[in-house]
Symmetry: C2
């Protein structure tokens, strides 16, 4: 691996953390094992570890821990290592690793628009800092590199799908020259915890899509925080409420209203450096379906 | 949890990373699952996850990954989340969590003395930055807080044990007013990878011991890197070489000479803030023997 890739990746996480601290965030330590983790909206192999009288699961995202942490502090982030034992068909997408790191952040009482604004400024700040320090290298490997203008374009999911068909996300990613947000994602496409909008069909959420075909690099949204709505959403997903007693007990005690997102670090570095695959953006990359160091 | 504890923990990791970057280090992303992890020198429950044709273990430390990463870059660090499924007898030590974060660092061609010097300066820098920002809070909870003088005292393990008996580490930790290094730890007390000194009985390694009874907060040393010596040390530990083929294959290809260490974040925060237990130094703390969020 080129030493500059490691330097860019290292600087990126430093500057992201610096930006968020300057915005009043605290960094939490990651949670790797918990009886409670993200159900995701696609199926991965289970990673459960028996211990004592129960078992621990590996963290697939810290979504619920973020909600609980907001009881203690109103703006939080974590460089959160996530293990998702993806199926082997995802081996050659260039976009999937079975362990990766996301910058997971959440803000009490925030709206989706607050998070879109924050993410735009975070990415621009980080790219500016990377350009200052590694501009020559970055441009040598990525002739398309430039600092995107804010605000990023907002594209409505259903409108884009109607216009361009089911491959719209990849088509738009290839066509655009700047990152953009895909918003108002339909309820059936996402987990139960993103907030349902008043139309009853789409969520108050978003993905960030990188240009030049690099695809999705961040997901987030406003969250459900009221017990009755959460139970309704779990039932819509045919989830067994008994499996979710840890979470539902905490919701009964009260969790804050919030919005937040998770930004994939390897995908961000891949985008900035125009790398063939996310596996080229870090050491010890593990592709779906393989056992690797 | 007091919001100031989260602020101090967040600032501590920021300043540690900043210090190391200024010293020419790059930060790597953590490895959570691998077929290869630290055997440790004490027994913990196994955390193995079947996947594809093999299995992954949870990272107990990134020692071997650090050695391999030095092929790519000469100074590296990771905020490495480690899972060690400790036995329940360690529940009430105030010093053990089953998941914790260590600042794991390694330097190509370094000596133990280089690392002792680095760690002293790292801790002093971080404590100074914490005092600047949170001095009033820190002194309100920790009347003993002060910036330690460098160099820290070096105490030889066998000499201290002879003088004070087998409880020497705790006795010294309670008696001292400043952090100190315990050096030259006997071969039977440590893993195979710390370098054996010419006396054939002790290792070129160290622990950092905090004062006021807080005990050990960092371990490290020079490392073995030559195949014949590594095999000798594995045999001394009665390790099954077949189980270590991943590692031995890499050693055959060549791993750099190095020294390094791992600094426990929760223990550092506990020391700075005079907290009753490491569980008070982070959110979602998990004690040995229990299933907790």
């Amino acid at each position: 691996m080129k030493k500059e890739v490691l330097e860019v990746q290292s600087e990126a996480i430093f500057r992201m953390g610096e930006f968020l601290r300057n915005e009043g965030f605290v960094e939490l330590l990651p949670v790797i094992i918990s009886p409670l983790t993200d159900p995701l909206n696609h199926s991965v192999y289970d990673a459960k570890i028996p211990y004592g009288n129960g078992y621990y699961s590996l963290t697939k995202s810290m979504i619920f821990h973020k909600q609980l942490a907001l009881r203690e502090y109103p703006k939080i982030f974590i460089f959160s290592p996530n293990v998702r034992l993806e199926t082997e068909d995802k081996k050659h997408t260039g976009r999937h690793l079975i362990e990766f790191v996301q910058l997971d952040l959440e803000v009490k009482d925030a709206t989706r628009e607050d998070i879109l604004d924050l993410v735009e400024r975070l990415l621009v700040y980080t790219m500016q800092k990377l350009e200052e320090k590694f501009g020559a290298f970055i441009k040598s490997v990525n002739p398309n590199f430039h600092i995107p203008k804010t605000p990023f374009e907002r594209v409505k999911y259903l409108e884009a799908k109607e216009k361009l068909g089911s491959d719209f996300e990849l088509l738009l990613s290839k066509e655009k020259g700047d990152p953009f947000f895909l918003i108002d994602i339909p309820i059936e496409e996402r987990e139960f915890y993103d907030r349902l909008s008043d139309d009853g069909k789409t969520l108050v959420d978003m993905d960030l899509i990188y240009p030049y075909g690099f695809g999705e690099g961040m997901s987030g949204g406003e969250r459900e925080y009221e017990l009755d709505r959460i139970i309704m959403r779990m039932k819509y997903k045919n989830m067994n409420l008994e499996d979710w007693k840890w979470y539902l007990e905490e919701v009964k005690k009260g969790i804050p209203k919030s919005a937040g997102c998770g930004i994939g670090i390897e995908r961000f570095v891949r985008f900035v450096l125009n790398l063939p695959s996310v596996k080229d953006s870090r050491l010890f990359a593990k592709l779906p379906g393989e056992i690797a160091l």
